[in-house]
Symmetry: D2
Subunit: 149 residues, 4 copies
């Protein structure tokens, strides 16, 4: 999968591993990373101009329709992780977001790489257009973006 | 992704959606399906001859290294689902398992399709050979398999 | 805490422990039991005549305001558990449900005992009356209840 | 339940609500708070001198045997919470920790209050003595504690 681009914003969210997120193999269960990734995506959307409260007040939902995750390193208790999120591509009602999780104390260690395809859904639970403002916010670098890498 | 094969065992595990597994969009959160799928895989391994207690007593682990999931239909409170698991391919220390989740009341409705690549790991947390007995159990139809579709 | 009564319905729901519900101590994490218990409560409500879909269509919610859980035995991979739920007491807008979880293969082993206080909430997110029909369904034995112990 | 004491350390851990932690009622599910609380307890233990890695290397576990939680306010997407943890009392092999969760932006709002009883368990899974060093670290104020309120 592709690594973080330089021509569009890369949004960063930090995550601390919590003890009950470890499974019986003593590391973060693979399903838990999907929680970190979803959290990172909603943070990215918020900073790109389309916040959770707007989503809810407009009765919209975002449904994940496809996910590919590669797990490259383990994470365990006490680890501080950084979730990086950026837009990969758009269609009329869906978007592909790319993400990677790295260690805060050693960002060269990539823990996971992933691509998530999500569809925008209206109050009638049918696909609806990706908001233009969001597309802009995800694709264009501002002069002084607040949390650009 | 491929559909359930006829030349090797397909293991089935039923799952009932539990209320706290719904997210704020009113359906089963996409991360929760990874719980159902992991549960289905360990059930399949158990029936193929390599149970959880054997795994633990031998100090082995199975680490997920890649997952692809396509979400094709929603699931919600009260739904009864069937997780189908079968072997796709093997390498020396890893295996690819294919899975699909369907509705019990209408098995034609595919809820998710997925492929999971997992590595077998020894007590030293380094890759180790996939047990031969398991490979046999996953690949060969017995005369009267207990839970063949 | 009190044990299952004989003068009112005791609703039973079976639960299978799933592998990702184990934590790094190799047993079901204490937080996971709250999922089993919530699942058991909504099943009980459904059978007592107040189903999830009714709840949602009326825009009501049920908020847990207090929980006491005693953990008496461990549960681990492959365990089949039985969640027993019954009404303890009611106030105008709240109810106390008592629950215990036992092992299916040895119901004398009590895994958890608990009491949950929950408030009924209307579309305006303010407390609302406990439905009378539900109170009846939870308190009175029918001639041939479907899942009475 | 009692409020934070002044004669012993109160350990603070911040927690950010993540989107998949909301349930279908649109707020943090009551079971999720047990994750926040467990996370807060292990952070407290670590700072009191008994870290996770020590626990694991010595083959010890800490089993929750009783939990009482009062839910006083809702939490939802984007909320920043503070988990406060302090020792309430000790017996030979068990301890009672008290905890409260407040809002970071308005610490007067108590979200939950709780008491957790936990037993120390050795490699043989039988109760073992609470480490003296931990008891000291939890009970005595140092001259300049790093994260005292």
């Amino acid at each position: 999968m592709s690594s973080a681009p330089t021509d569009r914003p890369v949004f960063e969210t930090s995550v601390t591993v919590r003890s009950p997120e470890l499974d019986s193999f003593g590391h973060v269960n693979h399903a838990v990373f999907l929680h970190y990734l979803e959290h990172g995506r909603f943070e990215a959307l918020e900073r790109a101009g389309f916040g959770w409260s707007t989503l809810k007040s407009e009765g919209r939902s975002i449904f994940v329709v496809r996910i590919v995750v590669e797990y490259l390193a383990e994470a365990t208790h006490g680890d501080e992780l950084l979730v990086r999120t950026w837009a990969d591509s758009f269609r009329r009602t869906s978007m592909v977001l790319a993400q990677e999780i790295v260690r805060v104390d050693d960002p060269a260690v990539i823990v996971t790489q992933s691509e998530v395809t999500a569809v925008w859904v209206g109050p009638d639970r049918r696909p609806t257009r990706v908001p233009n403002a969001l597309r802009e916010g995800l694709m264009h670098l501002e002069t002084s973006p607040p949390d650009r890498v």
